[in-house]
Symmetry: C2
Subunit: 210 residues, 2 copies
Amino acid sequence: MSIREEKKKKTKRAILHAAISLFNKKGYDNTSIEQIAQNAGVGKGTIYSYFDSKKSIIKGFCEYELEKIHHQLVAQSNEQSSVLEQMLIIFMTEFDHVTQNPEFGRLYLRETLFPDNMGRNNASDFDEKYFEILFPILEKGQQRGELREDIEHLYLCAHFYSLYILVISAWYSGRIEKSAIQDAMKTLFKQTLDGLRPVSQNHTTGNNND
Amino acid sequence: MSIREEKKKKTKRAILHAAISLFNKKGYDNTSIEQIAQNAGVGKGTIYSYFDSKKSIIKGFCEYELEKIHHQLVAQSNEQSSVLEQMLIIFMTEFDHVTQNPEFGRLYLRETLFPDNMGRNNASDFDEKYFEILFPILEKGQQRGELREDIEHLYLCAHFYSLYILVISAWYSGRIEKSAIQDAMKTLFKQTLDGLRPVSQNHTTGNNND
DNA sequence: CGTTAAAATTGACTGCAGTCAAAATGTATA
DNA sequence: TATACATTTTGACTGCAGTCAATTTTAACG
């Protein structure tokens, strides 16, 4: 690796490191780019040749973090467990990480779920990694008869993911305590697996189109 | 009403009107407070005695809009329809309004779901109005045997609301076309009603606690 | 009315995100 | 090594969100 490339990597790390440290110490809004630059030992302008904006520093950090989590998950996931248990582990692990850096997590979720650009979005690369983890679990679940086979994987994901988002949101807006998260998520996951209709009236086969 | 109060109302309306017009014309980021002030015929500082921040102008507008929608909904809702149909109407109506002002909708959702303040949140007042509409529908649904009675109303709401959020997010990030929204939402709602498990294995009674 | 207190309005001011032309540093070639 | 070119770094500069002390407008009362 050339001198140039080495320096670039070192600089990027320094910026990210300074940013994380300052954001966690003083909060995102109370940290200025100039402060980050000083702590990283570079000029202000340099930061903008590594990151598009203040927000994208967060995005860079979060994606790096989440990738780490994903690797962890693949390692620790137990193929024998039920879909419910595996989903709970995955989303609770993710939740724990998010809440360790609430500031980052919040801004990342905002940006990911309701992006600035509208439309042309580059998150698909990131979605892929999600699916790489979730799809096999769902596939196995279907094979074991735990999940309906007439629902696409994408839609199955959607149900769990949407509930995860809701619970996170409830925590961020102070409607639920951290200690209550796991139970709430479990309850919701169970309910969505079992359905909201009474058993007697359950008609799954999809012939109930109006 | 005193002269003072009249003027205040008029001024607030003028600010909101100028803001909406400019935001829709040039976008939120490209509109400055000073421009809004000029279009509203007031000084810059005045805006800050009516709104806490640039963001809260959006919030003010959205809450005003959503309140209008809610009234509409109560009027047009048909108690005889199935829970599925009523939920679809409610969330599709809301979706339509959000997407008429995508800029506003996006910022409102961000702020509502992942607020700045963290914890102390004043949205509970607004939640109430949501529940005033949804709870009666769910109550009726339970009475008619369309919905399980062992699930709290709050949790029943959670399922529908979370899917609504997911679909909106999918639209905002360009993963789904506007024309496909209704079908997607309907499919997801149906699935959550029927459950993700195959019928044969459905065990609703909640005695499957580990 | 005239006087005084309270409320509303204002724009100059502060601090920060993001830009950009110029300077510094690294690379390739003779 | 010297020269020319490419990449990276830099901080002065621009424009805007949000503040605040000073000013103007309204209300209350003798």
